[in-house]
Amino acid sequence: DAGVTQSPTHLIKTRGQQVTLRCSPKSGHDTVSWYQQALGQGPQFIFQYYEEEERQRGNFPDRFSGHQFPNYSSELNVNALLLGDSALYLCASSLGQPKFNYGYTFGSGTRLTVV
């Protein structure tokens, strides 16, 4: 039973560029959430997708957008990259929405470095 798969594992981008990160949820899960984890800190909630719609959003600017596909996989897009966007981006899948009550399965993350 495959867990959560994220790609790529590492990425280096230049300021001002755009980036797309991808996430495939655990088999049987239909909800995908994205988190930004700066070095040495706890993850911060970006947004959650369920039934191909953004259902919840954290305190992140509109430069952060996403999408969920019919197969439940998801993309995180970040436009106009800033140095401060450098972080580990985690994807988590779960079953059901809106309550996060079944536990989450996390991917290993994408390490984004903006130079």
Partner: protein, 111 residues
């Protein structure tokens, strides 16, 4: 707003001994869940234990147990018989309509 606070940035423990990690939270929701996750150097978050807020009985999972004090909004994690593989960052999470992480506690198990 929902907040989670972990007041111990780092804890060290000798192998086979017990360590307790503290977590306090604040939420306005009546129905919520609490979790402890560990994040080893491999980066992958691994579920350690889960507590449903409406249940008074403390959750246990092998060597891991929690002390859930709902009135005090406290949710501490006890690791018994610590093993070298327990070395990791530990995060406390509160989950209502949104998921909020604490800042994490780094646990180092020494041989």
């Amino acid at each position: 707003a929902q907040t989670v606070t972990q007041s111990q940035p780092e804890m060290s423990v000798q192998e086979a001994e017990t360590v307790t990690l503290s977590c306090t939270y604040d939420t306005s929701e009546n129905n919520y869940y609490l979790f402890w996750y560990k994040q080893p150097p491999s980066r992958q978050m691994i579920l350690v234990i889960r507590q449903e807020a409406y249940k008074q009985q403390n959750a246990t999972e092998n060597r891991f147990s929690v002390n859930f004090q709902k009135a005090a909004k406290s949710f501490s994690l006890k690791i018994s018989d610590s093993q070298l593989g327990d070395t990791a960052m530990y995060f406390c999470l509160a989950a209502g309509n949104k998921l909020t992480f604490g800042g994490g506690t780094r646990v180092l198990v020494k041989p």
